[in-house]
């Protein structure tokens, strides 16, 4: 079974530009999560999508946005890039379960996209 995939592996941008990161979940998973892993700060929750809807959002400014497509893949967009946005961006997927009123299951992580802002 294929795991969570992310592209690109590395992304280099300059300050003020926009970055687009992509994620494909494990087949059958409907939930996609995005995290920022900056050096020494652990994982910071960014966004959660399930069934095409944004379900929850972390404490990040609105220039961090995303969407989930009908095939459950997801895109994270970061506008007006700042130097401190340099980090590893991780995507995770899980079986959503929201339709049944259940809490989402275990999250499985992709390898990440390393974003460097110069």
């Amino acid at each position: 079974e294929a795991g969570v995939t992310q592209s690109p592996t590395h992304l280099i941008k300059t300050r003020g530009q926009q970055a687009t990161l992509r994620c494909s979940p494990i087949s059958g998973h409907t939930s996609v999560y995005w995290y920022q892993q900056a050096l020494g700060l652990g994982l910071q929750f960014l966004l959660w999508y399930d069934e095409g809807e944004e379900r929850n959002r972390g404490n990040f400014p609105p220039r961090f946005s995303g969407r989930q497509f009908p095939n459950y893949s997801s895109e994270l967009n970061v506008n007006a890039l700042e130097l401190e946005d340099s980090a590893l961006y991780l995507c995770a997927s899980s079986w959503g379960g929201l339709a049944g009123g259940l809490s989402p299951d275990t999250q499985y992580f992709g390898p990440g996209t390393r974003l460097t802002v110069l």
């Binding site: 652990g42 994982l43 929750f45 929850n56 995770a92 809490s103 989402p104 275990t106 992580f109 390898p111």
Partner: protein, 111 residues
Amino acid sequence: AQSVSQHNHHVILSEAASLELGCNYSYGGTVNLFWYVQYPGQHLQLLLKYFSGDPLVKGIKGFEAEFIKSKFSFNLRKPSVQWSDTAEYFCAVRGGFKTIFGAGTRLFVKA
């Protein structure tokens, strides 16, 4: 507000030493608990999880964790570490529909 605290940021052990990594959380309701591991150059992998039942949970690679509800803790243990256990370990707590990760503990095992 929901939070997770990992007490040790860096741990250095010799091979065959015993390991215990602390994890405490704050959340008023029912929780699901996880430990993830990130080996150098690899992505996050699930070590073990607790949803309900026996509070002593066994995971992969000889790891185990014990959920102590009264102490809001979910400490990770391994009786005898190996050099290959060198990695960063993350505790995570899901309460309701939100999962919060701890800051991580970097473990270095000396051969």
